[in-house]
Symmetry: C2
Subunit: 332 residues, 2 copies
């Protein structure tokens, strides 16, 4: 069973994923290259993954067989396990609990060589709909407090398989960064009686300097204090706390702007590795008037070093104004 452990000073939880049973010496060899062939996510290899939870399927095609447009399956090497109870316990001054949670993979397309930047808007909409369905389903499990949907694209971003996929992890506690975002947003709301993201969107649309695109009810913008070159937030212009309450029209709009942004990013940065993370409301707090869901995208073009790890302070060599101008197509 993996284990959740809490740092006694800063309160940060980590997952000790003991089930993967790695010895320290396993890390002596250089980084494992991206696995591309044989590909466990390609059609025909469905038996290489655990049984599918959800799929977009042509009429008449059976589960765990070819004929799908997207597939959601449990991660074969999960960071958290779906079975069991938390059983929180102490060890002297330390706190730990069982690593209970869900870890799923969303295989975005049967085409090994496609990407969210090349897929059609309808195909991307289906992937986003799958996120929505899984969030809505995992919400019913009272053991879970949060679901993080994320994507690791490319080796530098932590992907171990090449075939287009995203992931989700459901956790039994609200992660520290989500908690910090909620606290900061609640403080702002108390002072101003307005949502901070609504205010940011309003200010950035007026100022234009950090605006990258506006499409289908969403803006893509370079945040004022970005950690990484070309870090980008995609924010719905209409206030909403919970991603899973989006309708198909909203997901279609998100698919449009996401594809548009990824193509801009690829043009400016030359198809970089990247991560994206869906920031949505915790499962048990859906009606947050101070929280506004959004998608954060971070291209991996710089290295995180000692200063960042020791301070939480990031050094970004590109201003968000220059990044936004390049991503708008003005320079770059």
């Amino acid at each position: 069973m993996p284990e959740l452990r809490k740092d006694p000073v800063v309160g940060r939880w980590v997952i000790i994923a003991t089930e993967r049973a790695r010895r320290p010496s396993d890390f002596v060899t250089a980084a494992v290259p991206l696995r591309s062939s044989p590909c466990p996510f390609c059609p025909g290899n469905e038996e290489e993954t655990p049984r599918e939870i959800l799929a977009g399927r042509a009429p008449g095609s059976g589960a765990d067989a070819p004929g799908w447009t997207y597939r959601v399956v449990p991660n074969k090497f999960p960071a958290l396990r779906i079975e069991g109870e938390l059983e929180p316990a102490g060890e002297g001054l330390f706190d730990h609990m069982n690593g209970v949670g869900a870890h799923e993979v969303i295989i975005e397309t049967p085409d090994h060589h496609a990407s969210l930047a090349t897929m059609s808007v309808d195909e991307v909409t289906d992937v986003l709909w799958a996120y929505r369905e899984r969030l809505a389903d995992l919400k019913k499990d009272p053991r879970f407090e949060y679901v993080l949907v994320f994507k690791n694209h490319g080796e530098a971003a932590g992907a171990s398989l090449e075939h287009p996929h995203s992931q989700l992890i459901a956790t039994p506690i609200i992660p520290i960064m989500v908690r910090e975002e909620l606290t900061g947003a609640a403080d702002y709301y108390r002072r101003k009686e307005r949502c901070v993201w609504c205010d940011i969107v309003r200010q950035e649309r007026r100022a234009q300097r950090r605006l990258i695109a506006e499409l289908g009810g969403f803006v893509a913008l370079a945040p004022f204090a970005p950690r990484f070159p070309c870090e980008t937030w995609i924010v719905p212009t209409r206030h909403a706390a919970a991603f899973e309450e989006s309708g198909v029209d909203e997901l279609h709009g998100l698919a449009e702007i996401l594809g548009d942004f990824l193509r801009r990013m690829n043009r400016v940065l030359g198809e970089p590795a990247y991560n994206f993370m869906l920031h949505t409301a915790p499962l048990d707090e859906p009606d947050l008037s101070h929280f506004h869901w959004h998608l954060e995208i971070i291209p991996k073009v710089t290295k995180v070093a000692g200063f960042e790890w020791g301070s939480g302070f990031f050094i970004n060599p590109v201003s968000p104004e220059a990044a936004a101008a390049a991503l708008r197509g003005e320079v770059g």
Copy 2:
């Protein structure tokens, strides 16, 4: 002038290092390989660096000429600038200020091919003494609130030069992670009237399972909730908040255990890239009974991916008990 900018939600500051004047398209090319030759840090090339601030020198050798054992120089491409005032200002709902600070490089040895793992205890003690001297000196500048001493060793850890060196950055605000550590430690102290690191050292010495080494008044231990495989803390057994108040005996002890640990790490992980960060008290709060300085070392053998960036939660495939056993030489 670089600029400090604050995220309006989570309160995290970033440094927009505009002086480096990078355009987004500069990141299209693959990562710059480590520069080894010609080496600006090797003896004879002293004119390649800004003028030295401090050096260990043989009698009769002049500044910025060969004959040194270590050298401290301003970073040629500083993230923060030493000249100027902060001039905090707003832009709508955003806060920013001038990027005033200090960014220095400690060249640890004239030998390009040496390392802290191969240098003598006396040579490493001199490097630590240089940290102490620079901290004590920068403390006199009322614009600075914190000095972070850190090391990036190897390309994967963010180093851009091969020659052994560490760095320090003095910042005009207390970094968010230092603040979180201080807050957590103060909470613990209020509840227990004891320092949390003193309690950790006491518990770990008794339990032994996560203890790696004990030498010269220090312990090296695998923290209970480590983010990375073989993450290690070196903690003085005697309570002290401010590193720069250490005497030469203490720095000699630290040099001993640091070299010992790095050789253990190299044996287990095959000379990995690594970072270390000195966690010491803020400059204006030297008498913190709840804070205990320590050195954190993180080997870079895993990639940080979307889950970590989106949650602040880390997945670590190696338990600290297995890491400590391997580093003690029992297995691995």
